[in-house]
Amino acid sequence: MSFLPHFKLSRPETLEEAISTLAGASGRAAALGGGSDLLDWMKSGLPAPEQLVALDRIKALRGIREEKRLLVIGAATCLAEIAVADVVIEAAPALAQAAADVGSPQIRSVATLGGNLLQRPRCWYLRSNYPCLKNGGNRCYAITGQNHYHAILGAGPSAIVHPSDCAAALSALGARVRVQGPGGRRELAIDDLYQLPADRLDLEHALEPGEILTDVVVPRARRQERSRFIKVRDRALFDFAVVSAAAWMRLDGLLCKEVRLCLGAVAPVPWRPAAAEAYLTDRMINEEVAIEAARLALDAAVPLEHNSYKIPLARNLVRRLVLGLAAG
């Protein structure tokens, strides 16, 4: 049995209270969603917050609502609810599919969408508390070690992959996130929520201390707009992605008018293969086009010793998604 370190715990009922508590702790406090990542992280003995601010009582952070052309999902809404919500299944199918594929039923009942997007990397060296680059040390153990599940794109100096399935789906869907902190509110594109280790080593996301992710905003699909998420894992169910891929497309028959692709679990951030997107735009979709898009999507991939298998896997997912969306 592993013990949690000591911490203060508060369970405010309003967002304002939560923000002021977080901000008052000057970086030593953290929001607590379902705790499925944070508690595990803390049990590993990794640098832990001294105060947890539970979001479970804040009603304003929960629920799914429609705002004109947008779907607005409260950051503390749990994935189990998102996976089966008719409005998500209709308006943003890739997100419903990704949420349904996260972890296990018990995880999805507690895991919040915000927590899923902000969860920390699963690199087994980091989680075993090795003194690696991301843990205040001076080397990456994965680059030369056991790197089966590590990055093939965007790596350096750390080779983590971002573990969130929902992030990949939301990036393809062109989602934005709303954030509120002591300095007020702001909204950013989901792709701007994430940063590469080359830009910032200690954290994967761009939230400032004291900021809370309040909502995820997704444009609702119009006619001719389709989206889908697929994921490959070592077990049939209940596992992180080895590779995942999501796509959103606006079609006119078989003509691709606009597309967003995103690969998950291949890079430290949800990875948008821009060259493949540019290639597909204004092109008739067929098998050859899909294969070329898949090739372009992985063109820049640099595998480590044990993870070159991810390249054909990711290519195949891109090909399947492109053909699948065009087929309807």
């Binding site: 049995m1 592993s2 705790g35 595990d40 296990s104 018990q106 507690v110």
Partner: protein, 204 residues
């Protein structure tokens, strides 16, 4: 009285457990088994609060530290050792209990966050007369499980499934149970038992 902070004292807590009606064996289990736990939760900066939990239909007053998980409280404070700790990391399901009817990994839930909610552990599944619930009965009749360490978690999860879907397909049952792992790999037999249990539910 609910929120009085208290330093933990082994004696008051044992007394409270006994007063709370824990059966003798679990009292002695607590006495022997929690040396390290008590040292942990009674460290100088640790504050316990007396809270009342709703567990298996009873109100159970208990001193709980903030960093305590529900699995720790159930096992080491309330003597409900039917809930097992396998990984303690939300990865195996052996600690599964129902919170308001929904399966949760109790190793990864802070006890303070379940105040006011109904917790059901494996001990709470049989009816008060001792009659087993359909899943438990099916496990007995079908000789499910090998070592059975995973059994409480599977049985609790399967019970929740049959409450919302009394007539699952085998595939639906497998999906509902996908968050529970069996180290002995006895999945087929476990699924047989769940299907048998769904038959019992339909017949009753």
């Amino acid at each position: 009285m609910e929120d009085t902070p208290r330093g933990v004292s082994r004696r008051t807590f044992i007394k409270r457990v006994i007063a709370g009606g824990a059966v003798a064996y679990s009292g002695s289990y607590l006495f022997r088994g929690t040396g390290t736990l008590l040292a942990q939760v009674s460290a100088p900066d640790s504050v316990e609060r007396l809270i009342t939990l709703r567990v298996n239909g009873q109100r159970r007053p208990v001193d709980v530290a903030r960093q305590e998980t529900l699995a720790m409280t159930l096992r080491y404070k309330l003597g409900l050792t039917g809930t097992k700790l396998g990984c303690d990391r939300a990865e195996c399901g052996s600690c599964t209990v129902l919170i308001d009817g929904v399966p949760h990994y109790s190793c990864s839930v802070l006890t303070h966050t379940v105040r006011g909610r109904e917790v059901t552990s494996i001990e709470g599944l049989a009816d008060p007369s001792g009659k087993l619930n359909p899943v438990q009965q099916a496990v007995v009749d079908g000789a499910g499980f090998q070592c059975a360490f995973c059994a409480p978690g599977f049985i609790v999860t399967a019970t929740a499934l049959l409450n919302i879907n009394p007539n699952p397909t085998r595939r639906e049952a497998a999906e509902a149970l996908s968050g529970n792992l069996c180290r002995c790999g006895d999945y087929n037999k476990i699924l047989d038992c769940v299907m048998r249990a769904s038959e019992y539910v339909r017949r009753s």
